[in-house]
Each structure stands twice: as C-alpha cells, then as structure tokens.
Symmetry: C2
Subunit: 339 residues, 2 copies
C-alpha cells in the first residue's frame, strides 16, 4: 500500500505544498464579467496583436505564466518543472510557452480538467521532493475551440441552449514546498473516466456531470468527509445543465450539496446578460477563476477549506463524428489557507 | 532545494520503482520486423475488427493495457493510477481505454515522448508513495496519424525521403514500489522544449534531435556521468535523419556516442526492406520496443544499465499551416536490472 494513499482515488500531501502565486489573463468578454477587476490582465480583443487566434491563445498562456513567475519573484531558470495543457490540438499553447520559458516541461491533457490535473501532479512533484517550485498552467480560447471542436466562427452556426461558451483565458499557479502563499494543497482525488452515453458535443455539462459526481463521491468515501466539511465545493465548468445534474446525482449518492456552498466557475465568470447560453467552459474557465476569485477568498480567510474540482469532457471531433459517446473526467483538490 | 533533485533537470528515485510487467501489441508491418516474435500480439490488419482506424487504435491501446495487467496478475481495481496518451486528437485512445478500465486516470501529451513521460511521472507517483501499482501506456496508429497530421491515406500522397512511418502499436508497463520485475527506474531527466526552427512536418527526426541532444547533455551534466556509464543509450524515434544529427550534436557537446552503444527504436522496429523511408515513429514505436526488446535484455542481464529516451515532435497541423516551427522534447529514464 502506498503510504500517502487514502482509499481508492485520494492522495494526501504531508508537506501541503503552497501556492506561492497565481495569475490570470482573460479576454474582453470575461473582462466584462463580475470578476473583471480581479484578473491580472484583460486583453482588448481576441487576437491580442497576433495573426491568428491560435497564436493569441499561446500569447495569453505565456503571459499568465510570466505574470505568475513575476509575482513569485522567480525567473524561468529558478522553476524546476512546468506542467500544463490546453484545448488546442497537441496542446500547442502550452508547448510553445514551455519552449519560450525553457523550463523542463511535462505536457498534460485533461480537457477542461487540466488546471486541476496540473496542480495535482505539481503537488505530487513538490510534496515528494522531486521538483520545487513547479509552474502549473492551463488555458483556452473561444475562437480556437469553436474552430477545432465545432465550427469555425466564420460559418456562423447557431448555438444550442445547452452549449457553453469557451473562456478565452489562461491561469497559472506556482507551487512550492516552502514559503508562505495564497493557499495550501492538502489532498487530491484522481478522477476515473466516466461515460453515461451523452453524444451531443453541444451539451458538455451533461457529459461531465457524472464524472464530477463520481469523483466527489469517491472523495467523500475515501476521506470519510461530507460536503459540510467544506466552505465551498467548486466545479470547473459544468454550466447550468451540468450543475443541475450534479446536484441531483449528489442527492442520489447521499451527499447533497447546498446552493450556498456549491459553485461552478462556468456560472461565475460571465455577466449572465451576455450571450453565453449554459455558461462558461474551457481549461481557462476554472484556471482563471481559481486565480481571480477562489485563491483570494482563501487567502483572506473568508473560505477556510475549499474543494476545487475541474471537470473535463474527453471528446474529439473525430470520435464524435464516428458516433462515440463523450466520457468525462474530474480531479479534485482540497485547498486550505496558508496561515 | 527538492531532496530528490539532481541538477537542473534530473530526479532520483530512492525506491527505484520496478517495472513488474510490460506488454506490446503491434500491427502487421511491425510484426514482420526483426522483433515480430517478441511482441505479445501482432494484429492481422490495421482495422483489428473495428469500423475505423481510430477505433482500432483504441482497441490496440486497451489490449496492451489488459495484457500488461494480466502478466502482473492484477485486476483494474488493483491498479491505483493510469498515466498515458497517444497521438490522436485529444488522446482518445488512452481516454477511452481508461473509461473501459475504470482506473483513476491522468492524461498526458508528449507526442512521441509519451511513453517516457508516463514512466517518469509514474515513477514519481510510485516512488513518492502516492500510487502503486501504476499503469503507464502509450500508443499510435499509422493510418490515424497520417490522416491527422498529414493527409488521409485515400489521398495517396508521396512520402518524402525524410518521412518516418508511424508505428501501429501500443506498449504498457506496470510500475510498483515492491515486487521483483523486469527492470528498475533509478533516475529520470525531464526534457525542456527545444526548437531549432525546423518547419517540415515530414522531417520530424531533424525537429526532435536537438531536444534529444539537450536532454542527454543535461543528464550527463546533472549526474556527472558519461555515455560510457551506459550499456545502451536508446532514443525513441529519431530515425535515420534524426539519429545522425543527434550523433553530430553529441560530438559537439563533448559526449560522443559510439555506434555500438547508441540505438534508436525507430531504426529497430521495421524490416529495412519495407517502404518506411527514414524509420519508425509514433508513441507506439518506443513503447513497443521497450517492452519487446529493451526490458527483456535488461531482465536477462545482458544490458546492466540503459538510458531510455523517448523523443517527441510538438507540432499540430494548425501550427504547421500557420508557419510555426516544430519544437521537440525528450525525457530520459535510467533503467537497471532488478536483481
């Protein structure tokens, strides 16, 4: 039995790695949302002085990483590993950013769960004494995600009511085994891939909710905890449809979530009057809200203990076109104040 | 300073996690190669009873994982984590296999370096006491890779002399902190992303060789070792072009590699009389040769200490079409006999 393992899916971090700093860079629509003033940078337009949306996604990712390093007063040469990914094919935003930074790089793909996956693996590297500090990052871009997963914007397709709006943005966190930071990571629950047969690429909330429920229930089962042990339980980007399904599933699993306690980054990030349908999505959604809203609330002491769980829909246009259903995955992290 | 860190890029594993078992499943062309008898299964044709090449890639990946578990006498419920990836968009072969196996899953993307990346992170999870046993796997398929990165096979484009042939195959290894296995992992060197400006998606060996040289030099610098400390130094899939460049670069870096000592999985896997041009490539290349050739040689004691370094070309069709150059990455592992 592994010494830091709790139950089937949960790992404990005896050193409780600290998040030294974080940064978030987002697009203009996100900037007009309720947390607009809390992001480190709101870019003026979706191209951000680049020649393509893909290049813009790369530039946003790199900017979030650079600002995170600067806030921790670290140079790239001081950072022992970088873990991250994005939604672009072959995680190019993360890979090209790693090229510019020259930090030893481990590329991840967890769809919209990538920010939690990078923090989970980053915490293992840091806690175990294999690397510290470690830069963890994730990002996405509305215009590239639409082109890649659905239709190019130029096609002008009509979005369905269940569709979510991919966040243009990136978030980064610097993990360390020492120093005082914004929050500490105490536990993590690694998600299994869950598939309830949803085949609609425009309803990712429904595809991800069963995975979120599975990881949440595993977390409570492994740790012997209950929802009441957390000030907030925050999912990544289930949106309106997925959040409702998650709440129903958690009642069935005998771990009901209260409305005050349960939040979803996809329902927080945009002004609801914008044309976003079921809410925000994308790796950048939970990554940017983590930095702009969740970590500050923990740092201030308002929230003592938070369960942060980013959720990912594991689909590709090819598998969807071939009739494959959309599996989901969700990884959870227990964040507490660094006092 | 992290306690298990050596130099800028290398980590040490005090427990030296053991590779309990391995398995490789490959396509017919690979089966006709010199290691045809050493693979666990050679599928009769590229479709493997599926309706698409993508489904076949998934089936091959799952088969390699299942056979690896069976050889270690483990059920999916006994395995504490699965780490892996492939070349399909959104690593669908790995994700769908994780769905079928219901093992807590962390998706990786390192292009053709993925087998080394999964073993590196798997060794950290195992060595640090966060998960054991851990299933590490990677795979690729010629027909899906051609469709995704270059042209669909139906187009019948002519391949350039520098082009490599993506291996149809998958390999899996089971890591554990206890038990006696095929080999042990003592050290790993995490690669940085290196880009020397190659823009030709048909010459991935040239794009990857500088990253391979960078990681090799970092490994020797971090550890104070030299090439002579290894019975074999084996790269993943540099092919003829990339291997030649690597040998030149290592002379420049004052760590020359001897012809007897240096091998490349991409130059081993196929019968040279097949129409493969510069050699094999793909995640499945190093993953399957590791299982079918490298681990047995270490197990038998013929090779005492091997540096296994899988190399990845971090490109996407989109970035290539937008004129972006192709960065490379390479991760290295020190494998020794488990005696």
């Amino acid at each position: 039995m592994s010494q830091h393992r709790i139950g089937r899916q949960t790992v404990a971090f005896p050193m409780a790695p600290t998040i030294l700093s974080s940064a978030a860079v987002v697009g203009p629509k996100e900037g007009r949302g309720p947390y607009g003033d809390h992001f480190d940078l709101v870019i003026p337009d979706a191209l951000y002085n680049q020649e393509s949306y893909e290049q813009a996604e790369h530039a946003i990712f790199l900017e979030a990483c650079s600002r995170c390093m600067k806030k921790a007063q670290l140079q790239p040469k001081d950072v022992q590993a970088m873990l991250g990914g994005d939604l672009l094919n072959q995680i190019m935003a993360a890979s090209l950013s790693a090229r510019e930074l020259s930090i030893p790089f481990l590329g991840l793909y967890g769809a919209c769960s990538t920010m939690a996956e990078s923090l989970l693996l980053g915490a293992i590297l840091t806690d175990g004494g294999y690397a510290s500090p470690v830069l963890c990052a994730a990002g996405s871009h509305f215009c590239t995600a639409e082109r890649q997963y659905r239709f190019p914007l130029e096609y002008g397709n009509q979005r369905t009511p269940a569709a979510q709006w991919t966040v243009t943005g990136a978030g980064a966190c610097m993990l360390s085994h020492q120093g005082k930071g914004l929050a500490r990571i105490h536990l993590a629950t690694i998600g299994a891939v869950i598939d309830m047969g949803v085949k609609d690429a425009n309803n990712m909330g429904a595809a991800m909710a069963p995975a979120a429920a599975d990881t949440l229930a595993a977390h409570f089962r492994d740790t012997g905890r209950a929802p009441a042990d957390y000030d907030r339980i925050i999912t990544g980007d289930l949106g309106q449809v997925g959040s409702s399904i998650l709440k129903e599933l958690m009642i069935e699993k005998h771990y009901p979530l209260s409305d005050e306690q349960y939040l979803d980054c996809g329902l927080l990030i945009f002004d609801p009057h914008e044309d976003i349908h079921a809410g925000g999505s994308g790796c950048g959604c939970s990554a940017s809200i983590l930095s702009a809203h969740i970590l500050p609330k923990i740092k201030s002491g308002e929230w003592k203990r938070v369960l942060f769980m980013a959720t990912g829909a594991l689909l590709s246009p090819t598998t969807t076109q071939q009739g494959e259903s959309i599996p989901g995955v969700a990884h959870a992290l227990v964040l507490e104040g660094d006092s």
